[in-house]
């Protein structure tokens, strides 16, 4: 079991009113699964991703990541998990605007204490995997949306994490660029990563092998369609 959440709830207080973003959700995700989380806007997809990515802590419930009880960890221990085991890809890219692609990609290695010489090799390798070598010295503002998302993916995989979390990675991209990004994620899955993907587009979701649908903070359905992924690719083209 790569990830396991049990009875996880997340409640936000908006003034005096409680917003139940997640209500007693339980979910197990195997190693090297490719899973899409779908659902209407406000159904709790991002909240779930943030909990799974150790960016946020649940109000109640338990979370085991590769057997470790994450709900009991402090700030710095969670930072280490995010650094070592998880690669996060955001809808809005979240690159540091003042830094070049190379420096953005290198940064997780800085925080993991990797020696400089190794950092250069590993960062360049990750940049090459997303096909951005000729843009390594550019700043994010000088790149197209697709290129920015590639840079963000390079940053997510530079520390060789087992889990890649992508919250609407194609949400800000046109469909052609979106397909390019999905091809990279497919590649990462083939290379052995566990991929968790949030999307509200059926086409994108069909890249995954399992689709979890959320509604009002609860799991509505959890299905494994009969390996339609490849066929879907054909249909798309």
């Amino acid at each position: 079991m790569a990830l396991e959440i049990q009875n996880v709830s997340k409640t936000y207080m908006m003034g005096t009113e409680a917003v139940h973003a997640l209500q007693s959700v339980s979910l197990s995700i195997e190693e090297n699964e490719y899973i899409a989380i779908m659902g209407p806007s406000g159904s709790g997809k991002s909240t779930m991703m943030n909990v799974l990515g150790c960016l946020d802590t649940p109000t109640s419930g338990e979370y085991y990541l590769e057997g470790e009880d994450v709900s009991k960890m402090n700030d710095d221990q969670l930072a280490e998990i995010r650094n070592q085991k998880i690669g996060f890809v955001f809808q809005t890219f979240n690159l540091i605007p003042r830094a070049t692609v190379f420096h953005n990609v290198e940064l997780p290695l800085v925080y993991s204490g990797t020696p400089p010489a190794e950092r250069i090799l590993m960062a360049n390798d990750a940049i090459e995997r997303v096909g951005l070598t000729d843009r390594a010295t550019h700043k994010p503002t000088e790149l197209s949306g697709g290129q920015r998302q590639r840079a963000a993916i390079a940053r997510a995989l530079v520390n060789k994490p087992t889990i890649i979390l992508a919250d609407e990675p194609t949400g800000n991209l046109d469909s052609v660029t979106g397909r390019e990004i999905m091809a990279i994620l497919d590649g990462l899955h083939k290379a052995g990563n566990t991929i968790i993907l949030v999307t509200h587009e059926q086409e994108i979701a069909e890249h995954a092998h399992r689709i979890v649908k959320l509604r009002d903070g609860q799991v509505e359905s959890d299905v494994r369609p009969n390996r339609v992924g490849r066929n879907a690719d054909v249909v798309l083209n």
Partner: protein, 399 residues
């Protein structure tokens, strides 16, 4: 990366570092002045000798009513003689007196030069020695010979390249023959104190002959024998002087005993004033500057909340974020400190030229750098802690 952030906030940074600049300028100038003063003072007092008491009409440093000392009787040579007979623990006794005269060699004149009438024992009560020629001898004193020993600065100003030994010069209206030149002392004069390089020694007997002895006050330098403590010696000198002056037990001393320690006291209070003024200015400027830097850092943290969120999301721990912002505030303050140091070089040159010899030393420079970095760390700490404690998801959502 910290540097680019600073560049972005350049104009704001320059303004807020002004306090740091002034603070460092103040601390460096204070330390340099105190240092220069200390050197100057040590040179000055070393010429006086630490085991010598000076019997004079007035104390060197007058704290009470100045007029009360004016009615005291002058010290005279008869009293010197009596003191010589009575004091058992004195190694040397040297009377001296002084006046200001114009001195002249050929067409060159030095106005208001200090002329000291003294004896051969002058050498025993002070550390200065002739560098060229000889000092006054007992014969010079006994036979009232018109000979003089000049300070090194007199030699430079009056004789230039000419060897002054055996040259005739005029002191007032009288002819004197130069027999020696004193070694350079190097002290420019401690706060209006004597410049030892700009005085002329002549036999006290010749002094009386040339410039009269009526109403001339003497200073008597008495050097303690090696075996006696200075306080015991002072007790003896006071006792013998009271006997010579036939003072009744109820009467106060009508003379003063002076010694180097009094100058040390004066020096300490001058130093204390300078250092405390300097420290107050330093403290206020660094405080104001520190508050400014703290402000700039709060702004920087707020502006970069999203960036902090990103950094935390990819694994930055609290201490990484903390040190990133501490580094930034230290760099801002260090830049201020370096500008302050540059300005101090100018200030030091000015002090050197106008007041006394002073120079920037390595310890002072290191203290300045240390102080500015410490100010940066202190003033950046609260903003940096705020940044370090940000919740990653809240920071990422920040618009």
């Amino acid at each position: 990366m910290a540097l680019t952030a600073i560049k972005a906030n350049k104009s704001r940074g320059v303004l807020t570092t002004l306090g740091i600049v002034i603070g460092i300028l103040a601390v460096v100038t204070t330390m340099t002045a105190a240092n220069g003063l200390g050197n100057n003072f040590r040179e000055s007092i070393s010429a006086l000798g630490s085991d010598v008491l000076y019997v004079s009409k007035r104390p060197w440093i007058i704290t009470g009513n100045f007029l009360s000392f004016r009615n005291r009787k002058n010290l005279d040579l008869k009293e010197v003689e009596k003191l010589e007979q009575r004091l058992t623990s004195a190694k040397a006794i040297n009377p001296s007196t002084n006046t200001n005269k114009n001195v002249k060699y050929r067409s060159k004149t030095l106005e208001g030069t200090t002329i000291i009438g003294t004896t051969d024992k002058q050498l025993m009560v002070s550390s200065s020695v002739p560098g060229d020629g000889r000092f006054l001898t007992p014969f010079d004193v006994q036979f009232k010979r018109n000979v003089c020993v000049i300070g090194s600065e007199i030699k430079d100003l009056l004789f230039g390249d000419v060897n002054p030994i055996n040259k005739k010069m005029k002191i007032g209206r009288h002819n004197y023959r130069v027999v020696g030149v004193m070694e350079k002392q190097g002290s420019a004069g401690f706060f209006g104190g004597p410049n030892f390089d700009k005085q002329i020694f002549i036999p006290i007997s010749a002094f009386a002959k040339s410039f009269g002895s009526r109403n001339r006050d003497l200073n008597i330098a008495v050097k303690a024998a090696p075996h006696i403590s200075l306080s015991d010696f002072e007790f003896e000198v006071i006792g013998e002087m009271r006997k010579i002056r036939k003072l009744k037990p109820a009467e106060e001393d009508d003379f003063s005993i002076n010694q180097m320690n009094q100058l040390v006291g004066a020096y300490n209070s001058v130093m204390g004033v300078i250092v405390s003024i300097g420290l107050v200015i330093t403290g206020i400027s660094l405080f104001v500057g520190g508050i400014g830097v703290m402000n700039i850092m709060f702004v920087s943290v707020t502006e970069r909340t999203r960036e902090i969120g990103i950094r935390k999301a990819i694994g930055a721990k609290r201490r990484s974020i903390l040190s990133q912002f501490l580094f930034e505030s230290s760099i801002i303050c260090l830049i201020g400190g370096l500008i302050g140091l540059l300005l101090s070089i100018g200030a030091t040159a000015l002090i050197s030229k106008l007041v006394m010899p002073a120079s920037l030393s390595l310890p002072i420079v290191s203290v300045a750098i240390l102080v500015s970095v410490a100010t940066g760390v202190l003033s950046g700490f609260i903003p940096a802690l705020k940044a370090a404690k940000l919740n990653p998801i809240d920071a990422l959502r920040y618009e």
